[in-house]
């Protein structure tokens, strides 16, 4: 009556595309652990302005005063005493690939970053360990008044006052323990400024590569898009796998002006020893739109919930995400949205796949404030279980404080339909191919939101994962 199929199981294949390691050869590295001395050393190394040094030290105090989250996946394997918070690679930041040190350049070439820049990007920032090593933007985009640079330069350049007035204002160090950690030891990241009325037709991309074992990466991305403008920003990240924990606690802050639109796409493919405790937040003014597209494939443990604050009337948010949790992974992902303006709308669509003992959690918060009348929100969450060793949990919360709203939430958990497999097999596909096709179809609504080359990368990642577990 309860037939359970036999399953073929194949060992996970090497993720050689991302798993190559460079010899650790930094220009400077701090001792592991998080102390005032280490924070001061980072500040000195980065030639911080005085206010930033004070900011870091205050954030450190906040970090020490806050507790580890009690609600998420376990992070017992993360011991800050063993984390190196700053590793400066050799060489200075350059706008030419040929000036980047050979081994680092080779790394990014293997990852296909220079090729992507030539083919489909308006600008690229490449970070290696704690510092940006390459930053460039197309002349025609620069001519539109768009600024795309490393954030350290921005903090001391013509836009210094603007950067200072926005830096960690959306995600203050008091927000949570790892925001405080970020505030204390942040390094690297990008600053983007899009002037009023400018549409950046081709995406900008920042790529973050963490090479040093036992290190943390704490890049800060600050995006300011003025009124009536458009930007597509792509974030990619990867690291080789080590036997010790690495940490990523980046921070992304996006300010979206009236009637502007920002699309923020992420393909996260950290190695499976990584604790990815990242924070992303957007503030959207009247008529503005934030679109998050997120693919989470890597990491040992992830806490990742981009948050949108729909401050202005008629502002909108869309979140489209996919999570693929395999052996040894617990990926806790989702989204948060706060409706503050009238006639605001949010749409959260997520898919998750769990296989080979992986745990995939979907967590969300939809808050409708008393002022946000005529708001609409729809949350759709689908989870696919590929075996009975894995877990998939959904923990959505809605907090509604206005009666003139339309709020809907749907969640579905299940396995691959036997009927669908049977149908595809009756059309000549093998069982494995049928399942791979169904999983590909399950992820397709997310893939179609990505630029073609990133959709291809995502599909390759899914195929890679599927080859490790034909279930």
């Amino acid at each position: 009556m309860f037939e359970v199929e036999e399953k073929t199981r194949v060992d996970a294949i090497d993720r050689t595309l991302y798993d190559f390691k460079d010899k650790l050869d930094p220009a400077m590295i701090v001792n592991s652990g998080l102390t005032e001395k280490v924070v001061r050393q980072i500040s000195l190394e980065k030639e911080d302005l005085e206010w930033m040094t004070e900011f870091r030290l205050e954030a450190l105090k906040t970090y020490n005063s806050l507790d580890i989250p009690t609600w998420g996946p376990p992070i017992d394997g993360l011991d800050m005493d063993n984390i190196i918070t700053y590793v400066r690679p050799k060489g200075e930041m350059s706008a030419k690939w040929e000036d980047v040190p050979e081994d680092i350049k080779n790394t990014f070439e293997k990852l296909g970053i220079p090729q992507s820049e030539r083919l489909s990007l308006a600008g690229v920032g490449a970070q290696y360990d704690s510092e940006i090593v390459y930053h460039n933007v197309r002349k025609e985009v620069e001519a539109q008044g768009v600024i795309y640079t490393d954030i350290e330069s921005a903090l001391k350049g013509d836009m210094a006052d603007v950067v200072r007035s926005h830096f960690m204002k959306l995600i203050p160090p008091t927000d949570h323990k790892f925001a405080a950690l970020h505030g204390a030891v942040w390094s690297g990241g990008s600053f983007v400024y899009v002037p009023k009325g400018v549409s950046v037709e081709i995406p900008l991309q920042s790529y973050f590569r963490l090479n040093a074992p036992g290190a943390g990466q704490f890049e800060h991305t600050l995006i300011i898009v003025e009124d009536d403008a458009y930007l597509h920003f792509i974030e990619g990240c990867s690291a080789p796998k080590y036997n010790i924990a690495n940490l990523h606690a980046g921070c992304v802050e996006i300010f979206i002006g009236k009637n502007s639109r920002v699309r923020y796409s992420t393909i996260e493919n950290w190695s499976k020893n990584m604790y990815n405790l990242n924070s992303k937040r957007a503030l959207v003014e009247e008529g503005g739109i934030i679109e998050w597209v997120s693919g989470s494939f890597g990491s040992h443990t992830s806490y990742l919930y981009p948050m949108s604050i729909l401050k202005g009337d008629n502002s909108r948010m869309e979140y489209t995400g996919i999570t693929f949790a395999g052996e040894g992974q617990e990926l806790d992902t989702g989204a948060k949205v706060i409706h503050m303006g009238r006639n605001t709308s949010s749409h959260i669509t997520t898919k998750s796949i769990s296989r080979d003992g992986g745990k995939s959690n979907f967590r969300s918060e939809v808050k409708i404030t008393r002022e946000a009348e005529n708001s609409k929100s729809a949350v759709t969450c689908e989870s696919l279980m590929l075996d009975d060793q894995s877990r998939s949990d959904t923990i959505p919360v809605s907090d509604i404080r206005n009666s003139k709203v339309d709020i809907g939430h749907e969640a579905k958990i299940g396995r691959i339909s036997e009927d669908s497999i049977f149908y595809l097999m009756s059309r000549g596909l093998s069982e494995d191919d049928a399942k791979a096709l169904i999983v590909g179809g399950f992820a397709e609504p997310i893939a179609k939101e990505l630029p073609v080359e990133y959709a291809v990368e995502m599909n390759n990642l899914i195929n890679l994962e599927m080859k490790g577990s034909i279930g």
């Binding site: 309860f2 359970v4 009690t70 609600w71 967590r363 918060e365 008393r370 009348e373 989870s383 279980m385 590929l386 075996d387 009975d388 894995s390 877990r391 998939s392 949990d393 959904t394 923990i395 959505p396 919360v397 809605s398 907090d399 509604i400 404080r401 206005n402 009666s403 003139k404 709203v405 339309d406 709020i407 809907g408 939430h409 749907e410 969640a411 579905k412 958990i413 299940g414 396995r415 279930g471």
Partner: protein, 340 residues
């Protein structure tokens, strides 16, 4: 000892204030009129209610009223009606193989009375149980109700909860579907108005194969009511072909309401189907317009729509006298609504 109730099995962000009911409880044992000693069947020993083990232990230790029923026959006479106003109550119902029973629990507290009640239902193989939890209390009372249900193979349990009373009402129903093909449905109609606090924590744990559970709620919130609904379907490894559905359909009449909903689906088994669907809306303008165009005054039109939303739940009550009493209480509450 102080403790919290209605804790969800997997916590989320603390700032949302849904991980457990906001209040911390502590009983003044000096005022407790507990029974010196009593015994119940040991099948109830390890059962856990949705309110939580601390609440269960508190009631077990301080109960002033104990009611235990065993049912071994399939008979239309196995209908038990209890009515409570205040105190600490433990009520146990064990229904043996193939037997049927109906337990009607009416809570009719008045003024500032407080009632803590733990209800435990054990359904053996092929047993059929109907449990009606009817809180028709006045709006100044405090009620805490924990329900623990355990179902063996092919047992069928239907819970109907009418939650329209009390100033502070906390309910927690936890079902354990141990046996293959066992079922438990929980259907709730709730109404909260003024400054009332309504806190619910309903969950079903699936262990047996081909088990089924549906947890659904239809609600109306008005005034400055503060409502939290937690629903959980938890598929344990091995519960192949289990199906769990959750749903909530809420209408808000006021912008001062706080409406928190937390529908969890926890899944450790691949061969299952878990679904959740929830909507929060205002009263349907088109329907109101239609009724008004047919000559129905606005207030009556609103009331008609609200009553029609609740009626599928009220109609699940088989006993006509009890159903009429529920309808009367509901009518009184609708008459007194702060916003209509």
């Amino acid at each position: 000892m102080s403790y919290r109730v209605n804790t969800i099995p997997m916590p989320t962000w603390n700032h949302l204030k849904v991980n457990y009911a906001p209040d911390v409880f502590e009983r003044d044992v000096n005022k407790s009129e507990k029974l010196r000693s009593y015994s119940v069947s040991n099948v109830f020993d390890d059962m856990l209610s949705g309110a939580g083990s601390d609440f269960d232990n508190d009631v077990k230790a301080n109960a002033s009223v104990i009611k235990c029923k065993n049912v071994a026959a399939k008979s239309g006479d196995n209908i038990f009606v209890s009515e409570y106003k205040e105190g600490v109550v433990r009520e146990c119902l064990e229904v043996f193989d193939g037997a049927e029973a109906e337990l009607v629990q009416i809570i009719a507290s008045e003024n500032k009375e407080q009632l803590d009640i733990l209800t435990q239902v054990y359904a053996h193989k092929d047993a059929k149980v109907r449990l009606y939890l009817l809180n028709l209390s006045g709006i100044r009372s405090d009620v805490r109700s924990g329900v623990a249900i355990k179902a063996e193979e092919n047992a069928d349990i239907e819970v109907v909860r009418i939650a329209i009373g009390s100033h502070r009402a906390l309910y927690g129903i936890r079902s354990e579907l141990m046996g293959d093909s066992s079922r438990c449905n929980v259907t709730t109609a709730y109404l909260a108005d003024n400054d009332e606090v309504l806190d619910m924590n309903d969950s079903t744990n699936f262990y047996g194969k081909e088990t089924f559970s549906e947890i659904k709620a239809i609600g109306l919130l008005s005034g400055r009511a503060y409502k939290t609904l937690r629903e959980t379907v938890d598929f344990k490894r091995g519960c192949v072909h289990a199906i769990g559905h959750e749903g909530e359909d809420t209408v808000m009449l006021s912008d001062e309401v706080t409406n928190l909903t937390t529908p969890l689906i926890l899944c450790g088994e691949e061969w299952v189907e878990g679904m959740h669907a929830a909507t929060t809306t205002r009263l349907d303008d088109d329907m109101l317009f239609y009724l008004q165009s047919r000559g129905v005054p606005l207030r009556d039109a609103k009331r008609l729509i609200i009553e029609s939303r609740f009626s599928p739940v009220v109609d699940m009550i088989a006993n006509e006298d009890i159903k009429n009493r529920v309808m009367k209480s509901m009518g009184d509450r609708l008459d007194a609504l702060s916003v209509l």
